[in-house]
Each structure stands twice: as structure tokens, then as C-alpha cells.
Amino acid sequence: MSNPVFAQSKRDPESVNDLPQLKGELTLYLGRGEGGLYENVLDAIQKRNPELTLTIRRGATAALANAIMAEAKAGIQKADLFWAVDSGAIGVVADNGQGQALPPSLTDLLDTSFQYPNWAPITGRIRTLPYNPSRVSADKIPDSVLALADTDLKLGWAPAYSSFQSFLTAMRIQEGDKVTGEWLKAINAKATKYAGELGVVMAVERGEVDLGFANHYYTLRLKAGKPDANVQLAFTKDDAGCLVNASGVMALTEGDLPINFVRYLLSKEVQSYLAREAYEIPLVNGIEPPAGIPPMTELSPPDIDLSKLSDLRPTLRLMRQTGVL
């Protein structure tokens, strides 16, 4: 089974063994990521390329995006690269016209739905429906996230969680504010609230609720530590319930060096490392996803421009209006 949204590209992934040595100076602005794993990747690239002088400025993703745009306005170019856990912030900078065009030889490495002209998604995280198989069978779970509002299933959610709000933003873009608001009200009336999405997954596993809303990695990590955990993953089709959000990188200065640096991040070694250690979804063709997630070609994420997910304000307003927050 395949879908047009998640069609694989034809290029095989590149190995770092085939990439050119990086020589020269680069300044990377690094938005906060997976607790040190991005740092490990950068350390490894630096060690492999002793003639590269890599300067890293770390900070909150949105703050760095603002800094990049402010520097450009002032005629200053400090950053050569911007790597952020949130593609929305990348999109804001891209919309400001600051990303260098990426060559097709690079973008072709990515799944076709993740090919953007001036930034490259690195790895993804997918919205899922963790469910308790002792309480609900897979065939009773609708493949539409909107339809969940009309079921008798006992639901769990963490609406204050940032990834949930990105998912809701995607729903607003796809379905509009009216439909999203009605859905929110219906779910709010029946769902149990948790502080975070791991809490949702744990509640599903305990049988406190039948099904929840959560990013994929919570369930995978829980099952890695507790293989007999009583929780499975379901996916909706072609809607925000199956949104794949991504971390991303963009080259801000011209030349081969920043582009070749991006190639390292898209190498099969880095992609495999992030899939293995961070349970992130590799977005380069031919790399195995973390165990427990179907191949991306079997999933049906919505066709949404990820860079449009940056503005959460209308979503938060809607959540307040409906009494969710």
C-alpha cells in the first residue's frame, strides 16, 4: 500500500564515506533539540572533519529565528546554518527569503513530500493514537480524527502540550476554525486531561482510558523499556491526526560548505543514529524507521506545508474560546 503524499524519492541515501571533507569556518545556530543527541551528531561531524571550525550558538528556536531575521535586517550575516527542532521556525526564516536554494542532488534524497526549495527536513515525529488492545480492538478505531468525537471511546489528551497544539493548527488549516472548534468542544466534554503526552500513553497502558493522542516516540520508548506494555499504535488517514512534523535545517550563506554540511545531516549514518537513539522518523529514502512504526509508505499523513505551522496564536485563541485552556 502506498500513498501519493509519502512517495519515496528514487535516490539512495549517501554515506558519510562518500561525502567531501568539510574545510573552513561555519557558524550554526542550533535550536534546542533532543537533549544532547544533536550535540552528539555535531561532535561527530566535527571530529570527522578536523579542518572544519564549527561555531555553535544555542538557544530557543523562535529566539534564534528572530535573531537571524534581525541580523539580516541590520545587514549582518552571522549564521551560515540554522538547525531547529521545529520546522515552523525554519518556515518563518524561509518566508523572509533567507534560505539558500538547495540543489536537487540534495533535496532528491528526501521523500518527495518533504522536499522544499530552501530548507531540508531532517527527521520527523508523527501524531498517533495510542490505544489499549485489551479495551478496544483496532477495527473499532476510526481512521478519521474528526470521527473520534462521535465515538464512545474513553479518551485521554494533553492539550497544553506543544505538539498537540501543532496538530490542532494543522487541523485548523485543513478543516477551518469552525469544525476544529466543534471538535475541541466535543473532545473536551469527554476526554481526561493529562499533564503531558507520556502521561496519556501511560494512562492508556494502565487501562484508565481506551485511546489517546500523542507523538509516536512516547509509545516506542515506553515499549523499549517495558516490552510487554499493553499499548498499540493506530493512525488516522489523510488528516491532521497523522501529521508528520519535522526538524529542519537551512543554509543561510552561499557556497558548497553549508550545503555539504547539510548532506552530513542527511547521511544514512546520521539519519540511522537519530532513528535509533531518538526514535525520530528518518525522512531520507531507504533508512529504516524505528522499530514499531510502519514504513512511511504505509502511512497517510496530511499534505500540509510544515512551515505554515509556526503561528500558534489563532490555535491558542480557539482553545481558550472553547474552554480547553
Binding site: V16, R32, E39, N40, A44, S162, A195, A224, E269
Partner: protein, 269 residues
């Protein structure tokens, strides 16, 4: 306190010392260069502590003699913010810094409530003890700073780059939550809790889930419910501190687990 600190440091626990003296930039207000040369300023700090004690004594005396209005208890904040010692303790030992604010507002609160003078004097005595304790902590920090055993105090925030550094950073931020709450800056304290969860804990929770999922759900509840609610409900500083201490105990376990994770991790290439 000083003896306890000395015995710890003499045991060669330089890293532990770094954890006790946390040279972080203050979240608000300018930090003078003096904080990176505290030994040269110890006489000044001592004079300032004596000056504060005298000023506070004057407030309580006025309260005793002329009543609440004449006491001008609201000036406790100005008195404390007047001195360089303020940033010396804030950048080196946030828990005592929080206790000083707690003591200052303890006196102000009693006077505002027109409490018996004996009650105000009791608060005053507690504050004086805290100030001397703070001076002792700064003196000890100055001693080790002079031996280059403490990192330079940063005037801008430094991002942690490893999971263990992140745990230490979370712990220091939680101390600051208590300090800001003791300063009666509840909104600042709440924002700090929220930011610490979003920009720090979320970065390490994924690694912890495999090792101890319950620990992560407990911490999520502390960050998103227990601590913000304690602040919102205007619990006492001691109660908020107690929540933070429980969180820090759990963070110690997180630290151990993350060290294990890092040891087991395979190389990127």
C-alpha cells in the same frame, strides 16, 4: 553551614561544590564585575550586611515606637536591592537568596498585618541569621573563586549541551523559581517553571522514559500541575520550596539514569 561546606569541599568534591555554588547570571538587574572578584569585596559585603541589619532594625524600632505607617515597611525591598551583596549571593547560592527575600517579606507582612512587636522581632532575628549565613556562603565562594575553583560568573545565559548538564540547569532554575516566588514575583516564577519544562525537561524526558517511565510522568505532573498550582494558590514560600525539593530529589535519580544512558550510547559514525 560553613563547616558543612568545608568538609564537603575538602573531600575533593569540586563538582559538588560547583553544584552548591551555582554561578548563574541573575535573571533581572545588572551584575557588577565584583561578583568575579569577591575576595576583594568581602569587607564591602560585610559592611553591607551590617548596614542592612541596621536599616531593618530601624524599621522595626519605628514600628514599635510609632506604629505601622511610620515603620515604612515597604522600603525593605529598596534596602536589599541597594547593596552589591545582593548579586553576590544571588549568583552563588540561590537557595539562601530566596530565604533572604522570604525574611524581608516576612517582616513586611507582619508589620502590614499589625502583628505584635515580638512576632516582628522573631522574623527579624530569622532574617539576621539568614544574612549571616549568606555572608558565610559568599565568603566560602570567594575563597574558592580566588583559587580558581569556581567557573567565572556568566552575565549571559549558557545553554547546557549534555543531558547531565541539563539536569543541573533544571535544578538551578528550580532554585530560582523559589527565589522569584520569595521575591513575590509569582508571574516570573510561573513563567520560569513553564520555560524550564518546555526548554529543558522536554529535551531529556525521552531518554528517561525507557529507564523509568513513572519518574517522567511524576516530573510532568510536578512541572505542569503541582508546582504551578502551589504558586497560583499562594502557598507559603516553604511549601513551594518543599515541592521544589521533592522535584530535585527526583532529578538526582534522573541524573544517574542519564549517566547510564550516555555510557551505553553508540557512536554516530
Amino acid at each position: 553551614m560553613k563547616n558543612r561546606m568545608n568538609s564537603l569541599v575538602c573531600a575533593g568534591a569540586v563538582s559538588l561544590m560547583a553544584a552548591m555554588f551555582s554561578p548563574l547570571a541573575a535573571a533581572n538587574g545588572a551584575i557588577g564585575d565584583h561578583v568575579n572578584d569577591m575576595k576583594a569585596h568581602m569587607d564591602q559585603y560585610t559592611q553591607e550586611v551590617n548596614w542592612i541589619i541596621g536599616k531593618i532594625d530601624g524599621i522595626v524600632d519605628r514600628y514599635e515606637e510609632k506604629g505601622q505607617k511610620a515603620a515604612k515597611a515597604e522600603t525593605v525591598v529598596d534596602i536589599w536591592e541597594e547593596v552589591d551583596f545582593h548579586s553576590a549571593i544571588e549568583t552563588n547560592y540561590v537557595p539562601i537568596y530566596a530565604s533572604i527575600w522570604q525574611g524581608l517579606f516576612g517582616i513586611k507582612g507582619k508589620i502590614d498585618a499589625k502583628a505584635p512587636v515580638a512576632d516582628v522581632r522573631a522574623e527579624q532575628e530569622k532574617l539576621e541569621q539568614t544574612l549571616w549565613q549568606a555572608l558565610g556562603a559568599v565568603r566560602l565562594a570567594a575563597h574558592y573563586q580566588a583559587q580558581n575553583l569556581l567557573p567565572e560568573i556568566q552575565t549571559t545565559e549558557k545553554e547546557p549541551t549534555t543531558p547531565v548538564e541539563t539536569v543541573d540547569d533544571i535544578s538551578h532554575r528550580l532554585d530560582r523559581v523559589v527565589a522569584k516566588y520569595a521575591e513575590q514575583l509569582s508571574d516570573v516564577a510561573t513563567t520560569l517553571v513553564h520555560d524550564t519544562y518546555l526548554y529543558r525537561f522536554e529535551g531529556i524526558e525521552g531518554m528517561l522514559i525507557e529507564k523509568d517511565a513513572k519518574l517522567v510522568t511524576d516530573m510532568e505532573k510536578y512541572f505542569n500541575v503541582t508546582l504551578p498550582l502551589a504558586i497560583k494558590d499562594n502557598k507559603s514560600v516553604d511549601e513551594v520550596r518543599s515541592v521544589v525539593e521533592e522535584m530535585k530529589t527526583k532529578l538526582e535519580r534522573a541524573r544517574t539514569l542519564l549517566e547510564e544512558v550516555e555510557k551505553e550510547r553508540k557512536d554516530v559514525f
